[in-house]
Amino acid sequence: MKNSFDEKILEEAKDWITANQKVVIATVIQTWGSSPRQVGSRMIVNEKGDFSGSVSGGCVESAVVRECIGIIKEKKPFKKIEFKVSNESAWEVGLACGGEIAVYLEQIN
């Protein structure tokens, strides 16, 4: 029973593209341990760093936005990134919940 509670992120991506924005779709493709969002969860990011949707519970979104802007600037069509458990004492990006996720970024062209 997947996707009956779909979040309509792709539809939003289409609206952004129609408004002449550059859009990267970020999709959770793999999870290990207690990750907050399931495989298939999505967020979209434009060249200004506006975003919608989510790939975690707010833990790694800022890093995903940075990566997305990065691939738009470098004109890279896609990229895979992984996030691991964060070290609480450091100001690094990670999943405080202890899970791990892999996120696939792809530019709409």
Binding site: M1, D6, E7, T27, Q30
Partner: protein
């Protein structure tokens, strides 16, 4: 992903088709998979595994490959009988959950477009209305009029067509007499007991949005139990 593919995906979602998006995460290529249709050449050698994911309605990377599969199934259909105040809030909740909603109410003054903008409202008696809606075991019914003339035929249709969720508004007393009427109409105890009545989970609230929330909470829970 190509803009054209994105548009195709959205079109398929609008048409309520069942399909999967297939992505090769090393090459960046992607395509749409549909049952009984040929797949893009670059993905041919994974066809059996893709089919397997599709059948199980699974999302994920196929083991020992770089192929990511995301399956889309048809949204669940909810039929609300009674275009009443509670229905207005139900519609709001149901929309953000991506349920497909139809409202049946033979009373024109309730079922107005102004009260329910952008929604399929069938201004007919249930027997007639159900001729216009395809229903099956993936359909849910929420009966809200607590008027036997309107609710009962809808409940009977839902029981006969094995809807996975049937809820009926009304007090315990109203529900008892409803059950008796269904019994008299020849429905079995198991069938009658499958009706959620009084409808909704216990939240304690009595306002229209609270009752709507309690119904939608029960509906989501039952949807995941299937």
């Amino acid at each position: 992903m190509k803009k054209q593919l994105l548009n195709q995906i959205i079109k398929k979602k609008e048409n309520k088709d069942e399909f999967a998006i297939i992505t090769n995460i090393t090459s960046g290529e992607s395509c749409i998979f549909e049952k009984n249709k040929p797949i893009d050449k670059n993905f041919e050698k994974y066809l059996d595994q893709i089919k397997n994911y599709f059948e199980k309605k699974k999302n994920g990377i196929i083991e020992n490959t770089d192929i990511f599969v995301e399956t889309y199934i048809r949204p669940i259909k909810i039929i609300i009988v009674g275009a009443v105040h509670i229905a207005q809030y139900l519609v709001d909740y149901a929309k953000s959950l991506n349920f497909e909603i139809s409202i049946i109410d033979p009373r024109g003054y309730f079922a107005s477009e102004q009260r329910f903008p952008d929604l399929k409202i069938i201004n007919k008696w249930p027997e007639e209305a159900f001729k216009e809606i395809e229903t099956n075991s993936n359909t849910a019914l929420i009966a809200l009029t607590h008027d036997p003339k309107i609710d009962d035929p809808a409940l009977q249709h839902a029981l006969k067509n094995k809807f996975y969720y049937i809820g009926a508004l009304g007090s315990k007393k109203t529900h008892e007499s409803r059950c008796q009427r269904l019994k008299d109409a020849g429905f079995s105890e198991t069938e009658i007991n499958s009706i959620h009545g009084p409808v909704g989970i216990k939240l304690g609230g009595r306002s229209a949005p609270e009752i709507a929330l309690s119904i939608i909470a029960q509906l989501v829970a039952e949807t995941h139990k299937r």
